[in-house]
């Protein structure tokens, strides 16, 4: 198991958000965590990456306990996080944004990672000297994913890559995510867009009110009555 989260509790100040959340992701697997707005999905990813401090519970990454580490230490251990909305640096060029992804280990730039990213996202190569603020929503999301991949992470966590994108662009982003999966990357995908997430993932967990309420293979979740009624709308 690459990452094993056990009975994780977390929240902001005195407000608890996550209650005894447990899940795991194996090497090469794509796991999705779905759930409604406000369920604590983003908080979960932020807690794992160290942006939010956990209150109790353990996070084992590659067999090593990482609960409570700072975000920059998490990156050095091989954990990449693509935040909600992508959040590229608007006043930096696309190229500089990508290079920021190699901040913790500049050696990685010599391994041809930028060329790989340009092959995966050709639009970024065309835009490489443009400021990120001039990109469209879909391009920003691609830039954010590429920026996360530049560090050659062992696990990449994506927070709602489809957020705020037009349906056509969501298709495009998910096509890229599928490509990443085929390449063997380990991905933890958090989504509100349940149908897309369950279609691409191997396994899924349902997070509701800060608790894991269901889990199973993605295709089984997609056909379960609860999920169909509550999330897929049929």
């Amino acid at each position: 198991m690459l990452i094993d989260v056990h009975e994780l509790n977390s929240g902001y100040g005195k407000v608890p958000i996550l209650h005894n959340v447990s899940f795991n992701v194996s090497e090469g697997e794509m796991v999705t965590i779905i759930g409604p707005n406000g369920a604590g999905k983003s908080t979960l990813l932020k807690t794992i990456s160290g942006l939010v401090r956990s209150k109790s519970g353990s996070v084992a990454f590659g067999g090593q306990e990482i609960a409570g580490i700072t975000p920059d230490q998490a990156v050095r251990k091989g954990l990449a996080f693509v935040p909600e909305g992508g959040r590229p640096f608007p006043n930096m060029t696309v190229m500089d944004n990508l290079k920021m992804g190699a901040y913790s280990n500049q050696e990685v730039l010599k391994t041809g990672i930028l060329e790989e990213m340009f092959t995966l996202f050709p639009v970024l190569e065309r835009r490489k000297n443009q400021y990120a603020r001039t990109l469209s929503g879909g391009e920003r999301q691609m830039l954010a994913i590429a920026r996360g991949l530049v560090s050659r992470p062992r696990l990449i966590m994506m927070d709602e890559p489809s957020l705020g994108l037009a349906p056509k662009l969501v298709d495009e982003i998910y096509e890229k995510i599928r490509t990443l999966k085929v390449s063997g990357l380990t991905v933890l995908l958090v989504e509100q867009n349940t149908s897309y997430a369950l279609e691409v993932a191997d396994r899924g967990y349902v997070l509701e009110n800060g608790r894991i309420t269901m889990e199973g293979p993605a295709n089984e979740l997609a056909t379960s009555d609860h999920i169909r009624r509550a999330y897929l709308g049929f």
Binding site: P71, D72, P83, M92, K99, M100
Partner: protein
């Protein structure tokens, strides 16, 4: 990016400006007022250029300049008064004291993620706190002015009766700070500062320790303020808690913002244009109505903020590029390559 080419147009332009700046005082040697004015402009230019590191690049609206300047002034001044240590050494020790102080202040501030308006308020309050401490601290003069001695040679005690030497010392300091600023801008630290100025959470998940980066920026800035503080004490010839000035601190931040955030030459430009303009207003309007020059000055600042929100530097940059294109067309009959910065 042609930053590697030493003699590109931009550097040539800077060199020309530097030579001009070095020659100007010779023309105004006998005009004491002009010398005071030019020295004042340089003080503001050095401080605002240093502010660019923490305020422009790292995006932290720091208003604590006076705290670091005052500490540097009192360190260098007291060393000269008590132990006859030359300010040549004293000002660097002042810089070090300010830097260590900045570390003590910055560590908890950045650790607890105090930022934006809260950082601005905290840093501004710091200046007032320091002023009160020094008003009560009789060991270094308390509320009375303490004069720096001139009994040793002027060169040793850095106490000249003309402004010219100070002007040149400050000019050297300005060049060093600008070069250093440029170095930082394109360094790993510079990129981390620029990025965290835009989005702190996003930069942390890329592996940047934002607390450490901000702390480094603050310490570099405080070091420069401390050095200027040492010179400041020598220029004025006395020590007084009014050196811990919230007004001046705010003004430095304004110059940094009006000049253009994160642009090395922006604050310099703003200092040269605005400080000399303010002093000109003070001289021409000051006699008539008290404070009128400040009102006019404020209106100018508001106009800049309204019509040139990205600062003066981009305005000059685009003008420079237009000129370049114009001359390029004259020479080659086609637009010249526009250099990116």
């Amino acid at each position: 990016m042609n930053s590697k080419r030493l003699l590109n147009q931009r550097n040539l332009l800077m060199l020309a400006a530097l030579i001009l700046a070095a020659l100007v005082p010779l023309a105004f040697r006998s005009d004491q007022y002009a010398m005071i004015l030019m020295t004042t402009v340089l003080i503001y230019a050095v401080l605002a250029t240093a502010w660019n590191i923490i305020g422009g690049m790292a995006g932290q609206l720091d208003l604590a300049m006076g705290a670091y300047l005052g500490l540097g002034a009192f360190t260098a001044g007291t060393l000269l008064i008590r132990w006859s240590i030359t300010p040549w050494i004293g000002m660097f020790l002042g810089g070090l004291v300010s830097m260590l102080f900045a570390m003590l202040i910055g560590f908890p501030l950045f650790g607890f993620k105090i930022k934006e308006l809260w950082y601005a308020l905290t840093s501004s309050a710091l200046v007032t706190v320091m002023q009160v401490i020094f008003l009560m601290w009789n060991g270094v003069g308390g509320p009375t002015e303490v004069y720096l001695p001139t009994r040793i040679s002027p060169l040793y005690s850095l106490r000249f009766n003309t402004y010219m030497p100070y002007y040149y010392i400050l000019l050297v300091l300005l060049v060093v700070v600008i070069i250093f600023n440029n170095r930082i801008r394109y360094s790993k630290l510079g990129y981390s500062l620029l990025a965290l100025g835009e989005d702190e959470d996003a930069v942390e998940v890329l592996g940047v320790n934002s607390q450490a980066s901000k702390l480094k920026a603050l310490m570099i800035y405080a070091f420069v303020c401390g050095i200027v503080g040492g010179l400041y004490a020598c220029i004025y010839g006395y020590l007084h808690p009014s050196f811990f000035s919230t007004n001046m601190s705010t003004e430095i931040a304004i110059l940094g913002i009006v000049g253009g955030l994160g642009i090395t030459y922006g604050p310099l430009l703003a200092a040269v244009l605005l400080v000399s303009f303010r002093e000109y207003l003070r001289a021409s309007l000051g006699g008539g109505m008290e404070g009128l020059y400040l009102a006019v000055y404020a209106v100018i600042l508001i106009l800049i903020a309204l019509f040139q929100p990205r600062g003066l530097a981009p305005l000059v940059n685009s003008g420079y590029r237009k000129l370049q294109t114009f001359f390029g067309e004259l020479r080659h009959g086609k637009p010249a390559d526009v250099e990116s910065h």
